[in-house]
Symmetry: C2
Subunit: 190 residues, 2 copies
């Protein structure tokens, strides 16, 4: 997605060989016009898949997921990061470790919002090691719903997440794929 | 906002006299079409105010704020809830206590995203005691930016937040105002 590549080139900050910060338009400040285009792009990619629900994770997945939901005309569910499990409702759960932040979170989705008839599109802001996407896959499967695909805004293609998800049989559509962050520069996959 | 009142009547769950759950379209599952209409409504209300930025809090404020940002054509910043202050960047900060969840969070916004020329619209999902909105006001003022108004999706008008904010001189626009939750029923302000 050309518009997104330009935005990353102009505003992304390479922190080290593994970490790209895009706080000015995705992870802290959000560019709504860009999110709107991202939503349209996901809707185009998965137009033929009969998607019934979108699932993402708070907080940075919400903006792109809601825009995709708008154009696909389906509800969006965001998995909550939780400290403790105190709710009495039936919950779908998984734990996920973020290597970037070096913290483990419990994720939860209320069971009533997914069922075996759902065809789910998983959307997330970044794909690196695949931990977050695999946790969402696990929760969708707990509900006996099916995963129709995984939509990623920015894939760090030099990390193993994309390969792992594809080897597990999931279709992954990344709007941009980064080959490396070496030399404090963003190199996109050709 | 009639559409939102209908949604609350049909899907809102009154937990007790103080707590209304709207997990099916705002706080966990999100209805993107409804968020789109909410965004348009906020854009209409504040069309004459020269808004340059929208500020909200993760996670439930993000969807309505991003839709408002789309129609107002301005960036959206979401304050992050933080456990600890370890970043070295200049931060705007405030602490906020949630009575519903009985927890206190530190909020942070990177200082570089707000400056003294900004006219800020604060958006949040609920207004009850006003703690969250006042914390956002405090952060906007730390940046010497001005608060042009506060847009609320659901105001619990039987709690003091709306009055407190208005007495402090802020314009509050709530899309729906709830007079009481007594008798396990939602009574709207006429």
């Amino acid at each position: 997605m050309r518009l997104l590549e330009e935005k990353i080139k102009n505003e992304g900050r390479v922190i080290n060989d593994n970490v790209l910060k895009v706080d000015s338009f995705l992870n802290h400040q959000i560019d709504p016009q860009l999110m709107n285009e991202i939503g349209k792009e996901f809707a185009r990619s998965f137009a033929a898949d009969g998607i019934t629900k979108i699932v993402t994770i708070e907080s940075s997945g919400i903006a792109p997921a809601v825009m995709a939901g708008l154009y696909m005309n389906v509800p969006v569910i965001f998995a909550r990061k939780r400290k403790s499990v105190t709710l009495t409702d039936y919950l779908l759960t998984a734990s996920v470790h973020s290597f970037t932040k070096n913290e483990t979170n419990e994720l939860a989705i209320a069971g009533k919002y997914l069922n075996e008839n759902d065809k789910v599109l998983i959307i997330d802001d970044f794909l690196a090691n695949g931990e977050a996407a695999l946790a969402l896959v696990k929760m969708v499967k707990q509900a006996n719903a099916s995963v129709a695909g995984i939509g990623i805004v920015i894939e760090k293609a030099f990390q193993p997440g994309g390969r792992l998800l594809q080897e597990a049989g999931y279709r992954v559509e990344s709007l941009v794929r980064i080959a490396s962050l070496e030399g404090a520069k963003v190199h996109f996959v050709e």
